[in-house]
Assembly symmetry: C2
Homo-oligomer: 185 residues x 2
């Protein structure tokens, strides 16, 4: 056992989730989070660029997995199918954490400033999928449009998965949303 309690980062994330849920994002100061986590305010800002970022830990790990899933989709897959393979890959990060995902989504939905950050991450993910498609030889504008479509499918799937009392698995929600998307055209 070292000089500090272990997992300061995890404690800060947990403390932030609690406080944002209890009293709201704006009513929570960085100092409040640090205090509950047993660190100084300065330590909080060394781990997280800003107060929002604490709710987006690990989003680049998921982005990497999405990229790999798109790149390694079957050779014959259409641009849309390859992009949708990326959407499906997110289920590994959500399937067994529904409670946490729903609580987090509730906090984000209640706070415009957190929605903005979430949308920026989604836009970055769209860019990631676009890049992965281009590495498969897909040209613009098809690459960008297929990526946007896959992200829309993901969002619609997540909303249903979070809202329903007894939802099917997340992967099934993605598959259903993908079918609805294909039916559009």
């Amino acid at each position: 056992m070292g000089r500090w309690e272990p997992d300061a980062r995890g404690r800060m994330i947990a403390a932030a989730m609690e406080l944002y849920a209890e009293r709201g994002f704006e009513q929570t100061t960085a100092g409040d989070i640090a205090e509950r986590a047993g660190v100084t305010e300065r330590t909080f800002f060394r781990h997280f660029a800003d107060k929002r970022e604490v709710l987006f830990d690990g989003s680049d790990v998921m982005a990497k997995a999405v990229y790999d899933a798109v790149v390694s989709a079957p050779d014959g897959a259409s641009p849309l199918d390859a992009a949708l393979a990326g959407a499906a890959a997110t289920s590994a990060f959500l399937e067994d954490r529904r409670d946490h995902a729903v609580r987090r989504a509730r906090i984000v939905a209640a706070t415009p400033s957190l929605q903005e950050r979430e949308l920026l991450k989604m836009a970055a993910l769209t860019e990631t999928v676009t890049e992965a498609l281009r590495s498969r030889g897909v040209e613009e504008p098809a690459a960008g449009l297929a990526a946007h479509g896959a992200i829309a499918v993901f969002q619609v799937a997540f909303r249903r998965w979070a809202a329903e009392a007894e939802p099917p698995g997340f992967a099934d929600c993605v598959a259903d949303a993908a079918d609805s998307f294909r039916a559009l055209c």
Copy 2:
């Protein structure tokens, strides 16, 4: 002529565009903008909720036009076609202001925090289109997915229209992007 110069709001918007372009968003304080516009910092914040919002004046007027266009699309139009009518309606706000739109887009693209706000407006616009589709009797998830598709088409169309040296009209860019989108499925 009264005590104050008229159109303080317009002067603040112009001053902000200039300063954000000259020295960047972060390097510009609200006081700088206010000073150049001949008002106090406090007046700036009375007109705009925050430093970002000054670049999004009139976005709700456009949202209203988009809503109306979707609602009044032909009776037989598919959900996607109705949503795309909304995307086409934005051309009235852009067609004759390419220079301004491009300068503004350049500033936004250079600043993550402005991108976040832009994405929030786009998400709100997606919600607007979704609502308009629902008022036409379109059910979820088709409404949300068609709305996302139309917004993607808009964004792809805008990017091309802004990037090309001698682009066709914005309406043509939307039509071309819509064709590419339909080809996805």
